[in-house]
């Protein structure tokens, strides 16, 4: 049972993030919602690497046993996903700075409504 707690946390994070993206009206809260979804997916990826009683996958010369290490491939996948998340977050925050300069409000129902 205790090994299922990360998966429950993943589903909870993704659902809370989706709620924040769909139902909140402040622009910063939408960005926080996307960050929550991304954290949930990263947690899911890194949980897949775990084998019971394993140690970190670092090669130590003669004293290391490759069968005792946790899988190293999901570590690389999670790192790539974190980098992509940083880039998307930087882009979204820069766009919010521009939007605030034009409309002077952070409410998503008041921007972009002008007649063409």
């Amino acid at each position: 049972m205790i090994y299922n707690i990360p998966y429950i946390a993943v589903v909870a994070l993704i659902l809370i993030g989706l709620y924040a993206v769909i139902f909140k009206r402040n622009l910063i809260k939408i960005v926080i919602g996307i960050t929550l979804i991304e954290s949930g997916v990263n947690l899911f990826l890194i949980t897949l690497a775990f084998r019971e009683g394993s140690i970190a996958p670092i090669y130590r010369g003669s004293g290391s046993n490759p069968l005792n290490m946790s899988l190293p491939v999901p570590h690389a996948l999670t790192l790539t996903s974190i980098v992509i998340g940083v880039a998307v977050l930087a882009l979204m925050l820069s766009l919010i700075i521009h939007i605030y300069k034009h409309y002077n409000t952070l409410d998503v129902s008041k921007i972009g409504r002008e007649k063409e």
Partner: protein, 534 residues
């Protein structure tokens, strides 16, 4: 060790690597001179298209040939039987999408030479443009699931920055923000599905995954999440809200490539459904109570229902629009609905043993329509950009009588109008006729609704043509001149290809579309090219 043979062998990697190198060199080149930067970018795009044509020539020479390229090694499978390196696997469908991307990229770069001339910050524009092209080629040619996700994110980030390029207008930045929220959520759904599949089968390679997959409960969840994530990026109702804003407020040369991006996401959905899941979709019976329902029938009916909704909403919203580019964007939504309609109709029949003629014909129509829709809608967006460049007006209420000053633009708009609504002798007629015929055999009502919406689209565009180009001469537009030659050249390239495909559709279908359909339905060939026999 012929040089041409070496180039053909290395070309799947070079098609992605050369725009990437060009994108990183552009900030340094643009510090020297501005004209040199433009020439450099056009040179990079032409070099990439040379490699695409070389690879296409090699793949179409033998029926069913697949190129596999392993990154960083020479063998796809190690001694233990594991495929651990990233592969690019190019078959008929991949090279078909690459040809579409090449045409759009060449037209876009030539068009933006003079369309974007008065803007500042152009070195960032060209860097992002080349990055977007590299990301699209990577998304199309790859044979590895996680690599597909990485290139999907590269494309969405760079296209979002290009949509919000005119930062002095607030609405363009708002459109970019909506686009990145929907795009990031869709891509994270795709990553979630890839993680579920990796956790079950310990495989990230598409071919290895296709040979190992059994249709358990977690796989069904993964299929639903994957198709939802890719449909969010392709603009299918009910996730189409970002499409009119993003297409309508971006610069026109960027909108041209955005059409290609949405179609590359559609290609991703096709590849996942038909090749990765292909073995199991047909022979899995889903029992609800005492009734046995075929799973691909259920999926096909669901996709057809979504497609009809997309076509309806696209056409009806286009009827009431007043902005030139937003109207064309709604027409683009309706055209994606046509593609999904053909693919859904194909899914219901292509795997069953009783009726294989209809399914293959529907797939042919759907894939041919991908090519035609990219060209038609692209030409219409370029014309809208030309009108904006000449008159600085976007609303149809204030335009009028432009045909006297802009003769060539009017002719190009006429060609695009006839092509989008499916009139002969343009290419839209050929693909839409195949879609009508094949969906008629599935259910006659689908075909009737499709023809009706096509006629409504013709009505919408005739109204636009009359109000924008015909009509009495207005005194504000006295000194409106024809647009510069490079924009005319880009529009002319696409118009010539449209007329050529419209006059000789058989040539195109036999040589280009048929290998793509064969590659899509023949997934055992795809698998055995990597792991050597099932």
């Amino acid at each position: 060790m012929n040089l041409i043979d070496d180039l053909i062998f290395h070309s799947p990697a070079l098609i992605v690597a050369i725009p990437l190198l060009g994108a990183f060199l552009t900030p340094l080149v643009s510090k020297i001179n501005d004209k040199l930067r433009n020439v450099f970018v056009i040179f990079i795009v032409f070099l990439t298209s040379f490699f695409v044509l070389l690879l296409a020539n090699d793949i179409y020479s033998v029926c069913g040939k697949i190129h596999t390229y392993v990154f960083g090694g020479s063998a796809a499978v190690t001694q233990g039987g594991y495929a651990i390196r990233i592969l690019f696997e190019v078959d008929g469908l991949n090279i078909f999408m690459a040809l579409i991307t090449t045409i759009l990229a060449i037209a876009g770069v030539i068009y933006s030479w003079s369309f974007m001339k008065e803007n500042t910050g152009l070195d960032k524009y060209y860097t992002l443009y080349l990055l977007m092209i590299a990301g699209m080629f990577g998304m199309i040619l790859t044979g590895d699931m996680f690599n597909f996700f990485v290139f999907l994110e590269i494309t969405s980030i760079s296209s979002c920055a290009l949509i919000a390029f005119w930062t002095n207008k607030g609405k363009a930045v708002d459109a970019g923000f909506k686009y990145i929220v929907v795009s990031a959520t869709g891509a994270l759904f795709v990553l979630f599905a890839i993680a579920i599949l990796y956790g079950q089968y310990n495989a990230l390679n598409m071919a290895v995954l296709a040979s190992k997959i059994q249709f358990s409960f977690l796989d069904k969840i993964a299929l639903v999440v994957l198709v939802t994530g890719l449909a969010m990026k392709a603009g299918i109702v009910p996730m189409h809200m970002w499409l009119p804003d993003a297409y309508g407020r971006a610069p026109s040369s960027v909108t041209l490539i955005l059409v290609g991006v949405t179609q590359a996401s559609l290609y991703g959905a096709l590849r996942m459904i038909f090749t990765v899941y292909g073995n199991n979709l047909s022979n899995t019976l889903n029992q609800i109570g005492d009734v046995n329902i075929d799973l691909n029938l259920l999926l096909g009916i669901f996709i057809v229902a979504l497609a009809l909704l997309t076509i309806f909403i696209g056409v009806l919203m286009a009827l009431k629009e007043n902005n030139f580019k937003r109207m064309i964007a709604f027409a683009a939504v309706a055209e994606i609905g046509y593609m999904i309609l053909a693919i859904g109709a194909a899914l219901t029949t292509v795997f069953s043993t009783t009726d294989t003629g209809t399914g293959v014909m529907a797939l042919k129509g759907g894939i041919f329509h991908i090519l035609n829709d990219a060209l038609d809608v692209g030409l219409l967006f370029l014309v809208a950009g030309a009108v904006y460049y000449a008159t600085k007006e976007t609303s149809l209420n204030r335009l009028g009588g432009l045909a006297r000053n802009m003769k060539y633009t009017t002719i190009f708009f006429l060609i695009g109008l006839l092509a989008v609504s499916g009139m002969p002798p343009m290419n839209g007629f050929a693909s839409k006729l195949i879609i009508y015929e094949s969906t008629y055999q599935v259910n006659p009502i689908l075909s009737i609704i499709a023809i009706l919406c096509s006629i409504l689209l013709l009505a919408v565009f005739v109204k636009v043509f009359h109000s924008a180009f015909l009509g009495p001469k207005q005194s504000r537009f006295d000194d409106v001149k024809e647009v510069p030659k490079s924009m005319l050249l880009a529009m002319g390239i696409i118009a010539c290809i449209i007329i050529f495909i419209g006059l000789f559709p058989n040539l195109v279908i036999d040589n280009i579309v048929q290998p793509a359909v064969n590659a899509l339905t023949n997934h055992s060939n795809y698998i055995s090219n990597v792991i050597g026999g099932i």
